[in-house]
């Protein structure tokens, strides 16, 4: 991204203060969202989401594995984001690692809930096949292809779309397995189970520029931010995760205000995303 001149910076800040951003949007309006599902045939599920110039791909792969000793009746989900150098030349090699870690941790926090598994977007108990021995390991990989701000929201939306596109194969467990042997598991090629994504939350990032918050900031607007709060809200309006990013301090009352704004915006976003995902799935079937 080219550096911004003082005049451009003032233009961005002044516009936000008057509720007209550089591309004509209002403060709480998202860019048009395009969703495409099934983009990676080798994965169990995948999706590509474009929000303006931000382009991300999420893929979900389900593999058989052994559950954790501390939670034998739950499957495992691991989320990893890779920032490709095609997005920014600085992401080459180790450069994008810090941003990848930050995005991965934020997504894990939002989608996986507390350590006991409560409040998770994905129901881990549904991934268990044989308690204590065999379970599904879900690997969710995100790839940032093009970055123009608001990566976290786009990745959250892509993961939601990829999960609704995911088909986990049905599994037959051999009935005569003894207690200490590894049971034989037959993975079916024909029958599939769809993932239930009604509980998966969306992530809304509110960026504070001056005294106002904007939703879906572009890279230019993000460079002018003082701080940003990413809030994950589910369909029932409960907060599933919150991360504050950016260095400047925020008054606690502002954080609470941001939470209520995020809840308000999330209703529209969830509806928009659901209709886009449904349209994409219908498109794919044709």
């Amino acid at each position: 991204m080219v550096g911004l001149s003082l005049g451009e910076k003032n233009f961005i800040k002044g516009g936000i203060a008057q509720d007209i951003r550089t591309d004509g949007r209002k403060r709480l309006t998202y860019r048009p969202i395009f969703v495409e599902t099934g983009v990676i045939p080798q994965a169990s599920g995948s999706a590509r989401v474009k929000m303006g110039a931000t382009d991300v791909i999420a893929s979900v792969k389900a593999e058989l594995g052994k559950p954790n000793a501390s939670h034998p009746d739950k499957g495992k989900v691991s989320i990893y984001v890779d920032c490709s150098p095609t997005a920014e030349p600085t992401f080459e090699g180790r450069g994008g690692e810090e941003l990848s870690m930050e995005l991965s941790t934020a997504l894990q926090r939002c989608l996986l809930g507390g350590k006991s598994g409560a409040g998770a977007g994905i129901n881990l108990s549904s991934l268990s096949i044989v308690e204590g021995k065999v379970c599904w390991d879900i690997y969710i990989d995100g790839l940032v292809v093009s970055s123009d701000g608001n990566l976290l929201d786009a990745l959250g939306a892509a993961i939601k779309a990829a999960l609704s596109n995911t088909a986990v194969p049905k599994v037959q467990v051999a009935a005569n397995a003894s207690l200490d042997e590894q049971p034989e598991v037959d993975v079916s090629d024909e029958e599939f189970l769809q993932f239930d994504t009604t509980g998966v939350p969306v992530i809304i990032t509110l960026t504070k520029v001056g005294k106002h918050y904007i939703v879906d900031a572009t890279a230019e607007e993000e460079s002018q931010m003082s701080s940003a709060v990413s809030i994950s809200v589910n369909r029932q309006g409960r907060i599933c995760g919150l991360t504050k990013r950016g260095g400047a301090g925020l008054d606690p009352s502002i954080i609470l205000d941001m939470i209520s704004v995020a809840k308000h915006v999330s209703e529209q976003l969830i509806n928009k995303l659901d209709s886009e995902i449904a349209a994409a799935e219908a498109c794919e079937e044709e």
């Binding site: 501390s70 589910n234 919150l242 260095g247 606690p252």
Partner: protein, 256 residues
């Protein structure tokens, strides 16, 4: 080490909220009984000492219950030649676990993630303009992981920065809270953290009443977040006072 101090360690238990939340937890059918016998809204006694490492510019040792952390600060030092010129200072944070910190050897939990969280928590409090072209290194070592590790590391790091003489806008205090069923439990231990339904961690600058970092995990309703934030901010301001008194003691001890 805690036995050598002459006075009892100070505690930063927040003032109780007006409502008494006594509803059954999912485990025993009654209130969650804490393993160390504390009340639900009672924090662990905090033991803080500066000057733990002689060779560092500044250092601090913190013991909160079983969580033991030592932080040393080096700098401001010359930045590596490979780095670009910058007219504000740089902060470099690193958090690592000793191999004997956790009950199972070598089970360090996300130390890379903790380093970047420590960086974000501290960068809002340091006056970076006061040391241009140079770098301040903050190295944290968790000697024993006793639950609520990151808040302890952050508070100890801010004490070490003050001990090193780095200019700060304010002390940084950090407290975390766990949600176990219907109970809100402050300053959780490792056992409580492993069962938690949700967690909330706040890092704030008490005198400026500014939150520099906040992370929420798990499902929360808005009133619960309100309550948890209130309790944590109250505990943070009390912890801030304890940190200041620790710094004053260190100075008055050297003057004697």
């Amino acid at each position: 080490m805690a036995g050598k101090i002459s006075n009892t360690p100070a505690t930063y238990t927040p003032s109780p909220t007006s409502q008494d939340k006594k509803r059954s937890s999912i485990f025993t059918g009654s209130d969650w009984v804490r393993p160390d016998g504390r009340g639900l809204h009672q924090c662990r006694p905090a033991f803080l000492r500066t000057g733990a490492v002689n060779s560092a510019s500044g250092s601090a040792y913190a013991e909160f219950g079983n969580a033991k952390v030592i932080v040393s600060v080096f700098g401001p030092r010359e930045s590596k030649k490979a780095m670009m010129y910058s007219d504000i200072g740089r902060l470099n944070c690193n958090v690592s676990y000793t191999s004997f910190a956790t009950p199972i050897r070598g089970q360090a939990s996300d130390s890379k993630d903790l380093s970047s969280m420590l960086h974000k928590a501290l960068e809002g409090a340091i006056i970076l303009e006061s040391f241009p072209k140079t770098t301040v290194d903050v190295f944290a070592l968790v000697l024993e992981s006793g639950g609520s590790d990151l808040p302890v590391v952050i508070s100890c790091a801010s004490l070490a920065l003050a001990d090193a003489g780095i200019m700060l806008y304010d002390m940084v205090a950090s407290v975390s809270m766990s949600c176990l069923g219907k109970n809100l439990v402050i300053d959780p231990v490792s056992e409580e953290e492993s069962y938690q339904d949700g967690g909330l961690m706040i890092t704030c600058m008490p005198s400026r009443n500014e939150v520099t970092q906040m992370t929420v995990t798990g499902e929360w309703s808005t009133p619960k977040i309100h309550e948890a934030m209130q309790l944590c901010l109250d505990a943070c301001s009390k912890l801030g006072k304890i940190m200041r008194s620790c710094l004053k003691e260190a100075v008055s001890a050297t003057q004697e």
